[in-house]
Amino acid sequence: MPEQDPRKPIRIMLVEDQARFRRAMASLLGREPDLEVVAEAGSLDEARRHAASVEYDVVVLDLGLPDGNGANLIGELHEANPGAVVLILSASLDPTSLARAREAGADGILDKLAPPVEIIGTIRHLSGR
């Protein structure tokens, strides 16, 4: 795992097809001095393209994407940036869906409606800060 400089912000990629939800998350995360949203994607395809060229520490991932289940992306997201963690935000908290995400290697799963402080705290915790 690459050494993380604690002075550098945690780099986050948001993968979520609901653009307005992505904007809300970007606004909330953007307020934190130690977090930086470095990329956004609205589909598996877009996420794959970013993963190939963007360095990230955390991917905040939605499972219900228009071109497939986000769980299918988890392995690739880990491979493209070794040491990066994938946090699932789920609105339905459907057990089958979450089990699949877990099996695919999700590092964390949170309620999409959780208070921002919980989401932000989990991002920091998963990043080892």
Binding site: Q18, R20, F21, A24, M25, S27, L28, R31, G64, A91, S92, L93, D94, P95, L98, R102, G108, I109, L110, D111, K112, L113, A114, P115, P116, E118, T122, H125, L126
Partner: protein
């Protein structure tokens, strides 16, 4: 044939609920941001009330979806269902240990609808322990005491005093407990953790 209709109904209901939940997720997080922008103003409190109203609606929606899934699961033993619930909570509770202790003598027969309500109350208690207590350790215990079933959720978090206004969550927990013919006891002192103790009469023996 009945099972096929049930499964289809469940799937349709879940799709409907899913769309609504996504919309509500957007509404809540946007409002959370607006609330942060309104910090220190009277608006901040108003928005918080509205956010809680939406979260309450989401709890009800999720409960409805959960019920549909549970139609089959109600044939499972209660301790098994509680294990799954605890496991799901462990997922979300990073940095917190959740132990489950099912004492000897707790019935393994399915509890059906009563079990469903019982689980909802325990889920609420676990959510509180995760979000408000700052606890590192949570213990869920299950036992039979005479003709009663008892569950306890205790944490080593910051606790709260008698001057704290009970949240909407606590009220709904008490109401659910009462609707089961049972009672909810909450013991907490600032700095000394919290124990939520739920006691209900064993089903079939009211």
């Amino acid at each position: 044939m009945h099972q096929i209709r049930e499964a289809e109904r469940t799937r349709i209901a879940r799709d409907l609920h899913d769309g609504v939940l996504q919309d509500l997720a957007y509404a809540v997080q946007t409002m959370e941001f607006t609330k942060l922008q309104s910090q220190g103003t009277a608006l901040e409190e108003e928005i918080q009330v509205e956010i809680e109203a939406i979260r309450s609606a989401v709890r009800a929606l999720r409960a409805a979806v959960y019920d549909l899934r549970l139609a089959d699961e109600q044939h499972q033993s209660f301790p098994r269902l509680l294990e799954s619930l605890v496991e799901r909570n462990r997922e979300m509770a990073r940095g917190q240990q959740i132990e489950l202790d099912v004492k000897e003598g707790f019935p393994s027969a399915p509890l059906g609808e009563i079990g469903t309500e019982f689980l909802r109350i325990l889920q609420e208690a676990l959510t509180n322990a995760r979000r408000h207590s700052g606890a590192r350790n949570v213990l869920v215990s299950l036992m039979a005491e005479g003709n009663d079933l008892v569950a306890e959720v205790s944490d080593d978090g910051r606790g709260f005093g008698s001057d704290t206004t009970p949240g909407v969550g606590l009220r709904s927990m008490r109401e659910r407990a009462a609707s089961l013919g049972g009672e909810l006891e909450i013991r907490s002192e600032p700095g000394e953790g919290t124990t939520v103790r739920l006691r209900i009469p064993m089903p079939g023996r009211r």
